[in-house]
Amino acid sequence: MSEWMKRILDSKRTFRSKLASLPFEEKIKLLEMMRSRALEIQTAKRI
């Protein structure tokens, strides 16, 4: 694996770990946003 790819994966890991450490109440807000987006995408696909 190239150094560049390692750095990309490390930065993703760091971001995920930052999200994981959020309080659950904050995560709920993100879950609700992600669900709304998923539903919008589903609706758009049906058109």
Binding site: A20, I28, R35
Partner: protein, 174 residues
């Protein structure tokens, strides 16, 4: 989603369900980064001597519909979220419900399956998305390995775990 949790607690208090534990993606989100999911999986145990799982699910529907909640396919819509009520399919899920930890979300208490039980259930279920979740759990470093070992041993999942490890956790030789 907080409204969903409130209703679950009311159902317990009113004796419609014995106890419950949040599992699936929402349960995993308690420990990991949030996952995009469309529904809430609520694993339930009924109180003492329930007539049968089907009749008991019927009483859940009756209780919720009479309070203005609605049905959409196999889901009950509670607090704007589709909720699926899942009786345990075996001793692993039953243990996961009984041993769920209580947490506070704001002022609302909720019961969430442990990270180790969620991992064992994902291993047992064995879909691609379950394997992804197991990898996220192992990478996060939050799993208590002796607790996980105990669960995997008790439920005959050590072979599956070994296969999973060989496939996904050993260094890539490419």
């Amino acid at each position: 989603m907080k409204d969903t949790f409130k209703v679950l607690n009311e159902m317990c208090a009113d004796g419609v369900i014995g106890t419950y534990a949040i599992g699936g993606a929402i349960g995993a989100t308690f420990y990991l980064e949030p996952f995009s999911t469309l529904d809430v999986d609520v694993f339930i145990l009924f109180g003492d001597n329930p007539p049968s799982p089907l009749l008991s699910l019927g009483s859940i529907y009756e209780y919720l519909l009479s309070r203005g909640h609605t049905v959409e396919g196999e889901y009950l819509i509670i607090g704007g979220w589709p909720v699926q009520f899942l009786p345990p399919v075996g001793p692993l899920e039953e243990e996961a419900i009984r041993n769920a930890a209580s947490h506070l979300v704001g002022e609302i208490p909720i019961r969430v399956m442990s990270a180790e039980h969620l991992t064992a259930i994902a291993l047992n279920t064995g879909r691609a998305k379950d394997f992804t979740r197991i990898l996220q759990f192992t990478e996060s470093g939050i799993l208590d390995s002796s607790r996980l070992d105990g669960i995997l041993t008790d439920h005959g999942l050590l072979d599956k775990w070994e296969k999973f490890g060989k496939r996904f956790l050993e260094p890539d030789e490419l």
